[in-house]
């Protein structure tokens, strides 16, 4: 007995007695709760070991997730239950210390900045100006080349595509589109020959080629020669945000943008009749050459895709 007591350390609990209710567990039956928690933690440990085994044998992803997630979950529940039901239940309190310091401290702090620092700067205005100016200039100088070298200037790139006078319209495989290829009412995505496999070709030059029946079609002013034999081509870039106008409603003769549901009437100059797109899809002037291939008369006459500041 005396042997054991040597191993004890007696400490003051500043007024709290051993049997103080604050220091008791919240559980009414701590032995039972301890057993339940032990069981919970054991399930967690078993699952974690199972995770290791599952990883070792390269089991299916769901097995890995189930064992790891389940294991961590049970360990977490056990740990929280231990804290909640078996540790001192409290409640405990602590005083807040006032964050604000004394007025003297504040004055001394402000004085140190204003008087000491201000005095130095006031006496040596030129030096202060030079240091400040130099650092400011460094900031500007560092910023300018950094920004400038991030990318090329836009210049005219947004105003042009790779369609030229005489470009052959080819599909994604590079096959030239012949006048006999499309049945009335069908549609194909075309590119100027040579760009069909390039990023820029797919992102900027993409064009929908539709063969319309001549009924109901309204030719826009100045575009009388742009759609030979019912072949008509519009930029595939939505004028709202540049998504490809990838859905074609053949019955309604509408091109639909799946991103924000702008709809363009292909029978009437691709004028938007629904949704947030503000402009018609630009039309590409076409002609059919002597061999019967679809070619472009020129580039688009306006920038394709979404709006931007420099666009008129």
């Amino acid at each position: 007995m005396s042997e054991r007591r040597e191993h004890r350390t007696a400490v003051s609990l500043n007024g709290l007695r051993e049997d103080d209710p604050h220091l008791q567990p919240a559980a009414r039956n701590p032995q039972l709760v301890e057993r339940v928690i032990a069981l919970t933690l054991l399930v967690g440990v078993v699952l974690i070991i199972g995770f290791g085994a599952a990883y070792w044998v390269n089991a299916a992803p769901w097995t890995l997730g189930a064992t790891m997630g389940g294991g961590l979950f049970f360990l977490g529940v056990g740990l929280i239950a231990w804290a909640k039901y078996l540790m001192a239940r409290g409640p405990f309190v602590e005083e807040r210390h006032v964050l604000a310091t004394s007025q003297e401290d504040r004055d001394a702090f402000a004085a140190a900045i204003v008087e000491r620092g201000g005095g130095v700067v006031k006496r040596r205005r030129v030096l202060g100006g030079l240091v400040g100016g130099g650092l400011g200039a460094f900031g500007v100088v560092a910023l300018f080349p950094l920004l400038r070298s991030l990318g090329p200037l836009p210049k005219g790139t947004l105003f042009h595509t790779d369609w030229r006078a005489g470009s052959f319209a080819v599909d994604i495989t590079g096959r030239r589109i012949h006048v006999s290829d499309l049945a009335v009412g069908s549609i194909v995505t075309v590119f100027p020959e040579g760009t069909q496999n390039t990023d820029r070709g797919q992102a900027v030059d993409q064009t929908v080629l539709i063969r319309l029946s001549n009924e109901n079609f309204t030719t826009q002013k100045g575009r009388e020669s742009w759609g030979p034999m019912g072949y008509i081509a519009y930029s595939k870039l939505c004028t709202h945000l540049g998504c490809p106008v990838g859905l074609y409603e053949q019955q309604l003769q509408l091109l639909v943008c799946p991103c924000h549901q702008s709809m363009f009437n292909v029978n009437n100059g691709a004028i938007p009749n629904f949704g947030p797109a503000p402009r018609p899809l630009p039309q590409l002037p076409l002609y059919i050459d002597a061999a019967g291939y679809i070619r472009s008369q020129s580039d688009y006459h306006e920038p394709v895709g979404p709006g931007f500041w420099e666009r008129s």
Binding site: R5, H7, P91, A203, G246, P258, W309
Partner: protein, 512 residues
Amino acid sequence: MSNAVVTKRSKKQALGRYGRVGKALDELDDRLGVAKGGRSFLDKIFPDHWSFMLGEIALYSFVVLLATGVFLSLYYIPSSAIVTYHGSYLPLDGQSMTEAYASTVNLSFAVRAGLLMRQMHHWAADIFIGAMVVHMARVFFTGAFRKPRELNWTIGVTLLTLAIVNGFLGYSLPDDLVSGTGIRIAYSIILSVPLVGTYLAFFVFGGNFPGTAVLPRFFILHVLVVPGIMLALVSAHMILLVRQKHTQFPGEGRTEDNVVGTPMFPVFMAKTTGFMLIVTGVTALLGAFAQINPIWQFGPYDASRISYAVQPDWYMAFLDGALRIFPAWSFHSFGHTIPLEVTIPAVIFPGLVFGLAYAWPALERMVTKDVAPHNLLDRPSSRPKRTAAGVAVLAAISMLFIASSTDVIANFFHISLNTVLWAMRVLVLVSPFIAYPIAYKIASEMHATRGSGKRKTANVVTRTDEGEYVATAAPAYADDVAHDLAPTPVPQYIEAVEADEEPDDGVRTIDR
């Protein structure tokens, strides 16, 4: 008594009363002087309320994001070089795609636990931002942002903004058909900024869309720059929280000048560690059983292809909804275009929403003229105007969230897209004006009801032997009683007494 015991005891005595721990702390304190601060940190009191765990969910999802993100970065290749896929996922065999997409498919199928890590990462991101939003709502509706905590509110709003940006950047990295479309839209939104939009877009993307710079740039922003800033801000958020101490709800023994709850060590530490394990565990279970973002089904990005029913992750949906329902009001004049149909919903509107969030503490102070520091929280019902204002903003944003699926709604209910569009336009504009008075009324009625926020005990009616009926209040609920103990300071083990002495009153002995 065996020799072994003697040796053990003499070793212990050589180390001092607190053994190895004490020795290590002595060494540390000699160099850093941490004992005093460390002790008071262990005694720090954390108030108990379920709503205080929302921020913890955010914190621990962030930890999961960092851990799973490091794993993913070991296998992901941020390159738009074109490769031909010959991996283990046969439906894509022989297709040409960017290295970024190919490496994402590979880490999903060929790397052990890769798919689980990718799904956990995506789920954790969605949970992270969700928890931040709900945590922010808690702080807002309880007035926890008031003096002295305005700075921490500002840090929190910044964290939310950065999290949304980083979520979008990460979502873009696999370069699949759906995320590529998202990048295209982001490019067009930057392009829509008046005056400098084209320059901004060219500098961010290194040229016209798509270019080859965007994936490496998004990658380094996503894994280093933005998370680095966020880590610093999360630390600042925590340091301010410790320095200013927690807010607490009013209750027995709770005043503006104290904090009542459980001490940091060991109770809170055990609880919060357990909670971290649960958050991680639930994320892993979601990663295991709830498929998210199956990029191998979408296929690689091709700017001229698109998928139907394209929607961004949930936290971007309110912007997508705004873009869908805003009218086609492009402004042309003096040879210039301002694409208002994009600028207003996607640039100005989010700027206003987050600007309002930043400005709210100052705005409220201007209205209430309340400049006193507050450590006790409001119940949402006790500030009906603030509560109603918050509910009104949430109502409008929820409607925008719903508006991001106009096409799905129209298909599902077999109604015309036009009807859905106009319904959403009306709902977005009208819902705040409906939500405000309803929330105001509910809050002020709740506030007017006496004893709101407390469970009422039953009235027990008994009949006496004389036949008289007597109503008496039933005793309080057992778990209410448990909290009715007056709070006490954390026990301080301040004075050690030699063991052989008989303990006095107020002195206890414990087993070491």
